[in-house]
């Protein structure tokens, strides 16, 4: 009787998958994702971006990307501070000196007149920040054909 019970208990322990560490693993994953998630520092602006079919994902790390917002009325924002066009090169030059791998992401409204963009590009050139990306939303072939 005793030996039979002992046998039963032993076989029961071996047949179960050890799940005591499952919670630890799940929490580790949870903490990993919570720590690695970075939230955008800037507030959202009312900007409608142009669409382009050739839109490509930028390979640069997030810390190497500087966002320059241009709103429909021509207002320029860098890190949530409004600047005039003439100030742009003075603002960006020290940032570029700190990180020469920087890419300027120009997030401009689709209806801004081109003269404004041209002035900003000249300011970026003066600051030495020659790697520029124009932020666009991916355009689907279907919507292009409909247009």
């Amino acid at each position: 009787m005793m030996s039979k019970g002992g046998l039963k208990r032993k076989s029961k322990a071996a047949s179960e998958i050890p799940s005591s560490s499952l919670a630890d693993m799940a929490f580790l994953l949870l903490i990993f994702f919570m720590v690695t998630t970075t939230f955008r520092k800037e507030e959202d602006r009312q900007v409608v971006f142009p669409e382009a079919e050739a839109t490509e994902k930028l390979e640069e790390a997030r810390k190497d990307v500087l966002h320059v917002f241009v709103e429909a009325d021509g207002a320029i924002y860098i890190n949530d501070v409004r600047y005039t066009t003439e100030q742009v090169s003075n603002v960006i030059a020290p940032m570029y000196a700190e990180n020469t791998g920087m890419v300027v992401m120009l997030r401009s409204d689709r209806d801004v007149s081109y003269v404004q963009i041209d002035q900003i590009l000249k300011e970026l050139q003066a600051a030495g920040a020659v790697r520029v990306s124009f932020y666009t939303n991916l355009e689907q072939r279907m919507s292009r054909e409909r247009r």
């Binding site: 799940a26 142009p50 997030r62 081109y114 020659v130 932020y135 666009t136």
Partner: protein, 140 residues
């Protein structure tokens, strides 16, 4: 005595078997609700400030973007201007021109009062066609 011990044991422990389920539920919730803000766009490298390169005019394809979004095309030194080209036709034109001249450079000249999106349309077409030598200028 042995029987009593067995009965006491389940009550004395905090049930942890559902902990993994709770943790995974949280994990799945965060995975699903996270929106990655991708950095995407049309990349271009501007020429450096005092490093202007002289290019023979015959290697340049001028694309003049008008305020209404239509494009006037001038091929190199040829004074003839092909007017009123739609932006969507540019990638085909570029491919054809490039097959005639492999050193071709696209000069996108945009009118100052033209909306930015028309320049992007042309740049998009050029990049779709695989152009890598693109110059952005303002139309004077």
């Amino acid at each position: 005595m042995a029987l009593m011990k067995k009965k006491n044991r389940p009550g004395g422990e905090i049930p942890t078997s559902s902990m993994a389920d709770i943790a995974f539920l949280l994990l799945v919730f965060f995975l699903v609700t996270t929106v990655f803000d991708e950095e995407r766009g049309l990349s271009i490298v501007l020429p450096e400030a005092d490093n202007e390169v002289e290019v023979s005019p015959k290697n340049i394809l001028f694309l003049m973007v008008q305020p209404d979004g239509l494009v006037n095309i001038q091929r190199g030194e040829n004074p003839q201007i092909q007017a009123g080209v739609r932006a969507s036709e540019i990638s085909a034109i570029w491919r054809q021109e490039l097959s005639n001249n492999a050193n071709l450079i696209a000069a996108v000249k945009t009118a100052p009062n033209a909306p930015y999106r028309f320049m992007i349309d042309v740049l998009d077409q050029l990049q779709t066609a695989g152009a890598d030598k693109i110059s952005l200028q303002i139309l004077e």
